[in-house]
């Protein structure tokens, strides 16, 4: 039986899953960015055109998706700082696992704080 290596940064454990999440969140944010530049460009067409499209951001379905977007951005940004710490800080690899859970905790807390406020606006009148 093959011995599972322990303590590697990128295989199997937190290091690998943070890498997977970083990629998935990055791709998601990228495609949103393409759409977001295009919808914002509508301000150059007419106030009516921009307002019609931006109204769709206030619908329940898109409103809920925005929570995912905000969560993805928070995770990707904070985990990016973790990657920088791993690359440039001498103790980065030692604390990479702790830093991952800090990233997750801060992301969850921030999204939990934002959710009621945002949903009240999306579902309220």
């Amino acid at each position: 039986m093959a011995i599972k290596p322990a303590g590697t940064l990128y295989r199997g454990k937190v290091g690998m899953w943070s890498w997977v999440l970083h990629r998935i969140s990055g791709v998601g944010i990228f495609f949103f960015l393409l759409v977001h530049v295009l919808d914002t460009a509508l301000v150059r067409v007419s106030p009516e055109a921009y307002n019609i499209v931006i109204e769709s951001y206030k619908t329940p379905v898109v409103g809920l998706a925005e929570l995912g977007l905000v969560g993805a951005i928070l995770f990707h940004g904070l985990n990016g700082l973790r990657v920088i710490a791993i690359d440039f800080w001498s103790k980065g690899t030692k604390y990479q696992s702790v830093m991952f859970w800090v990233v997750i905790a801060v992301t969850v807390i921030a999204v939990a704080g934002f959710t009621p406020m945002h949903l009240a606006r999306v579902f309220g009148h």
Binding site: R23, V27, L33, R44, E48, K58
Partner: protein, 147 residues
């Protein structure tokens, strides 16, 4: 264990400068923290403060871009986010696209889209008129003469 000694390496490393890939790697780590400041502030100002998403309309954007501060802010965000995102997508394409032709086609498409959106966004920010003539007054910001 015997150590292997290569008497005369047939391809000695002659290049003295770092390759392009290193500058790409560095760019991700320099633009990343800048984007955190730019985008996290963008999210707080547009989605948390005031009425959040409910308040966003043409007049809201006009109010921001009437101020050169937010023009420069959004311009920096546009350029850095698109280059950071496109370079990240390029990295993923390099990892998963097996065939050279597929990889080249995808990478070229990515950079073309990136350049196009940077150009479009930059033009929009700098040619934007917060109070366009002929627009109905109720859609415009309170500082517009039509109001």
């Amino acid at each position: 264990m015997m150590s292997v000694t290569i008497e005369t390496p047939n391809r000695p490393r002659t290049r003295k400068q770092a390759n392009w890939e290193k500058y790409g790697w560095l760019f991700m780590r320099v633009s990343g923290p800048l984007l955190i400041v730019l985008i996290f502030t963008h999210l707080v100002v547009n989605l948390v403060l005031g009425d959040g998403i409910k308040a966003i309309d043409f007049a809201f954007v006009a109010g921001k871009w009437a101020d050169p501060f937010w023009q420069v802010w959004d311009l920096a965000m546009l350029w850095l986010a698109l280059i950071h995102g496109t370079n990240g997508m390029r990295t993923i394409v390099n990892d998963y696209a097996g065939q050279v032709k597929v990889r080249r086609a995808l990478t070229t498409t990515l950079w073309a889209v990136c350049a196009l959106l940077i150009l479009l966004g930059t033009l929009v920010i700098f040619t934007f008129d917060p109070c366009p003539a002929g627009a109905s007054a109720e859609l415009l910001a309170s500082f517009c003469p039509a109001q």
